[in-house]
Amino acid sequence: MDLRYSEADERFRRELRSWLAAEVPKHPKPPPRHDWPARRVHDTGWQKKLFDAGYAGVNWPREYGGRGATLTEELVYYEETARAHAPYIGMNFVGVRHGGPTVIAEGSELQKKTHLPRILRGEEVWCQGFSEPSAGSDLASLKTTAVRDGDHYVVNGHKIWTSFGQVADYCELLVRTNPSAPKHRGISWIIMPMSLPGIEVRPLPTLQGESDFAEMFLSDVRIPVEQLVGKENDGWRITNVTLRFERGTAWAADIIELKEFLSDAAKLAQKLTREGAAAWEDKALRREVGHLAAEADALWALMKWQLGEIQKTGMPGLGGSALKLAFTELKQRVYELGMRLLGRAGLSRDDVGSLPVEHVLVQFMQSLSLTIAAGSSQVQRNIISERILGMPKEPR
């Protein structure tokens, strides 16, 4: 049990910290949420800066533009970017945290060379085409079809919750390539260029009132067969690789940000007054913040424990389900506390009275999506009980 970062890790930390100290203040503030072209410039612009400085894809292979660093250096990266309040990964999320790692694990040499450096440079934005209106938690029942026609797949279907669909260049798309096989064995994983004819993207406003989500209608979209990742009909296994990344180290940055927020909340409570005294004088509030901090610290320790497992096996394990479940539910409780702390100020969506209202509200509302997306809390509990604890499946 060794929690100490190596000398190399600490050297990396010092370099990164001073780079962030210089660059973060220079990067413009995030544009309004509805201004998609400006958001793209903002999010990918930061990604490009990371790349130019050698901090993009910290643990991705060097030959594809990554830093080729260790997983612990990646952890240092998350710690330092969170502490520096560096710009959020934003619309680079699917490519950097999801599609990219899947291509590294399962893609062809050509796919790696084509996509990985461009994702890291902020030149490619990806979206996710997994869920469908009638394939949510039961993702494997997806109906979007891909029929082979010469050297193309002809794709028809309807995808939903396609974050960044409006601006994406590529979509990690799940399609049914064998309708007669059992549902888990007829799915394929395809990289779909969003420029192809037959793709219609319609914004789907979220409860935040913004259009991060989209629906995607696919009508006779002709996708070249070389866009297939891995083998035809092997997409379910590949999806589970992808989802494990989504449930694994992908949360590291978020856990640190949560810890940072608890610290900010304590400072806020020292500033706000309630009944004539600082809110922080309230013992019950302090204990509640302390309790949440205890859980956040435990999650961070669990993250490091799972990192140790990945270092051993090369793959995020099933334990990611426990981490995802615990983190997403904790985040909701933490920002609920933030909302209570703000009191009536939280009735405004924008900062009011020099209070960080917008941040708290956006994070609170966004946290509501986390227990639903990437396998709902209920799906995670099924995975944990069936695949870790060995309990029998429900009749399905």
């Binding site: 049990m1 304590a266 859980e295 490091k304 604890l389 429900e394």
Partner: protein, 324 residues
Amino acid sequence: MDFQLSEDQQALQSGLRTFCDDRYAFENVVALEKTPLDRDRHRELAEMGVFSLRLPEAEGGVGLGMAEAVLVFAELGRRVVPGPLLWSHLCAGLVPGAAAGETIVGGLDRTRPSNEPLLVEYAGALDALVVLKRDGVERIDARKLAGTPVATPLDPLTPLVHAAELPRGERIAGAEQAAQLRLEGTLLTAALCLGIAEMTTELAVDYAKKREQFDRPIASFQAIKHFAADMHVRQEMARASVYAAGATFDDPSVGDVARAVASARVVAGEAAMKNARMCIQIYGGMGYTWEMPPHYYLKRAFVLENAFAAADEACETLAERIDR
């Protein structure tokens, strides 16, 4: 960074597990209800190195650290092993004979004064009673402690004596060491809680797989599975935080020791309490009977909830140290 058990740590853990599974199998533990503190068993635990674990080799100890101690105490917690194990371990370097199990040492934490009744665990069978006070550590001759045995202690394996007052003792260490022992005691209490959280999850899952209702194992119902999944998550969080606190204790350069211990205390304590309660629920009517294991775990969890720094105090410690 390599936050996994080393080979030696795995060997230590599995050695203790084999020992406890055999010597403290449920039927053996139940048989100890009449005499929870048995001198031979205490000496046997000493031979396993439970008390001398962190004592330097030069002083006849095993010379291991807190990272190893939390593994050992988690194993003891899994089998609700009775006895003043924590105090005998804490006092291994302080009270002659404690490390070898010759002197049975119990204790009382009085660093936070209160007017609650003085309930001393295992008092009738102790050789020495160590009292932590704000200004130092005192050793009391346990035979001079006057009090009334509590007729029915909550935990049938943790007998209590209600003492009217504590006789004056001999000062054996200063305030700094009292605080240090309290910190160590808090962390090892969390380790015992981790063992409870783990074992109650295993018990509940095994029971649910065997118990049939509506013509199928109740483990196939989502209502049960999702409770079990939550138990597993609490256990994993507890494990990570207890291990991390152990590693941080041994190498304070990696973090804030007080914060790490407080976090482990809160998370593992809650995991023990909630998992033990849920274990009773999943056992159903059988869980409410004396003959089944779950109630022993819940009762021990209550004993541990009130040992050293309790959860509320730990939460405040965390709140104070949130910026560090």
